[in-house]
Amino acid sequence: MHLLDWLIVSVYLVYVIWHGMRLSRNTGGAEGFFLAGRRLPWWAVGLSVMATQMSAITLIGTTGQAYVDGMRFIQFYFGLPLAMIILCVTAVPFFYRARVFTAYEYLEQRFDARTRTLTSFFFLVSRGLGVGVIIAAPSVILSIVLGWDQIATIFVIGLSTTAYTMLGGVQAVTWTDVKQMVIIFAGLGICVFVILGSLPAGVSFSDSLHLAGAAGKLQTIDFSFDLNERYTFWSGMIAALFLFLSYFGCDQSQVQRYLSARSVDEGRTSLLMSAFLKIPMQFLILLMGVLVFGFYQFQAPPMIFNEIDAARAAALRPVEYERLQKEFRQLHADRRDAAMQFVDAQGSDDESEKASYIASNVAFLEKRQEATEFVRRTNNDRAFNDVNYVFPVFVIQNMPIGVIGLIIAAILAAAMSSIAAELNSLATASTMDFFKRHFRPAATEKGLVAFGRLATLVWGTFACIVATFATNLGSLIEVVNTFGSFFYGSLLGVFVLAFAVPGARPAGAFYGLLFGIVSVWIASTFTDIAFLWFNVVGCLVTVAAGYVISQLIPERDNAQQE
């Protein structure tokens, strides 16, 4: 990286930390530290909601996915507007009027302490490990692409975020989220302009899209109903709807955002901001991946984007690697010529140039697939996948000086905004659902804030340690994601029982949750359904089991409650 890029990244880091720490003066008591005194404006909360959801891996992985797989991932977000409306009607007013600090605290008001403790415990375990993965993923990629030390990158990202979150609480998290979103949008916007300016003479934006369309990259909607297919219109509208309901309605990292809004109406408006902006924003991020695909029609891309793994495979079997490389370059040259002819033939009725381009693209992709398999086999790494390296490598190799620094800052901003919100929510759940509830019910406001700060530091350090292991253990990431998906749908089921089933009792909620988690485990072990559908299974089983159990043992429960 050039000195100017380093300067931009350093200025970003120093500014964010300074800005976050500056807000530590205004935290006040527990409500001030954990909920900003419930006085944040809707637009700041709305940007914070979006920043929390968009981690660095969303930014990097989505562009890479569009490059490799096209834009069909957009369907994942189709259920989001509907989820936000349902939450505006149910969760926001329920939580806000209950004056709770955590979503799980509401479950104690509605059911009992054990349901609150169990759900909060699951949240702490899954999110605590999840933050480690959120730190690890961009750290691994940035360290490989930029040659940075992996452990140092993890601790710079993790501990700098911990510092301002610990001192400034939710105010620091929200206001830095706002600034970070501005940096992310600026980075993406400038990146799009630079890519468009890099297309060869005679090739327009529209031509680039036609090429992507011919290669099947712009297939945005698939109406087929297949439970094993991850991204279809129906998985987005139904299965992802359940995921979003659970994530935005039951996960403390998001609930805490809108609990800090000035009123129920402002909380609702902040969620509706995502309902309006999320799909267009995700479309733009995916479009950037498609534009990178267009760019690489005319410039030769690396055969393998992860240079370290490629070099390892090349060192182990140099002759075969060199042969693949040579064939790959030849096929790229053929595809480039076919692409130019296809562009020149735009507007004519002749379909032969299009067919020729499609054939050359298929041959090119098959060679890349062969190279990927070669790296997997040679390095004995069945999980090898370089999708997440596409965008960072493209930026480093093709963006001008200054823009590289801005985009690295945007990637760091995306990572830090998610990490901060999650550390903040982990600290809140630890303080309110465990420290205050079970150990120090009479704790003073000052004591709660002090414990909240300590919990932020502990969770931040824990997440960094998990991240150092996650970089070496690919399966750990899988375990964390699987654990999260086991829990999400079932947690949603408990809240459905709380909000919508008047006859639901504490025992029904508690055992219904356990039934839900077991049902997801069974579904994941004995079927091939895509993971998004686990949320539907977990939620429906929890609600059904919770309702039946509530009907079977209501009297005993009532006696216990009294």
Binding site: I85, G213, I221, A275, I279
Partner: protein, 40 residues
């Protein structure tokens, strides 16, 4: 405006929700047309 628990609320929410659904549907239709135009 209506008042619930001492807090004033807009009466426009049902209309706003309808607007969100209409906007979401419009975006999906536009995406479909975009896909068809460039892939067709």
């Amino acid at each position: 405006m209506t008042v619930v628990d001492g807090e004033s609320h807009s009466n426009w929410w049902p209309l706003i929700y309808a607007g969100v659904i209409a906007f979401g549907a419009l975006v999906i239709v536009l995406l479909y047309l975009f896909s068809r135009h460039f892939s067709g």
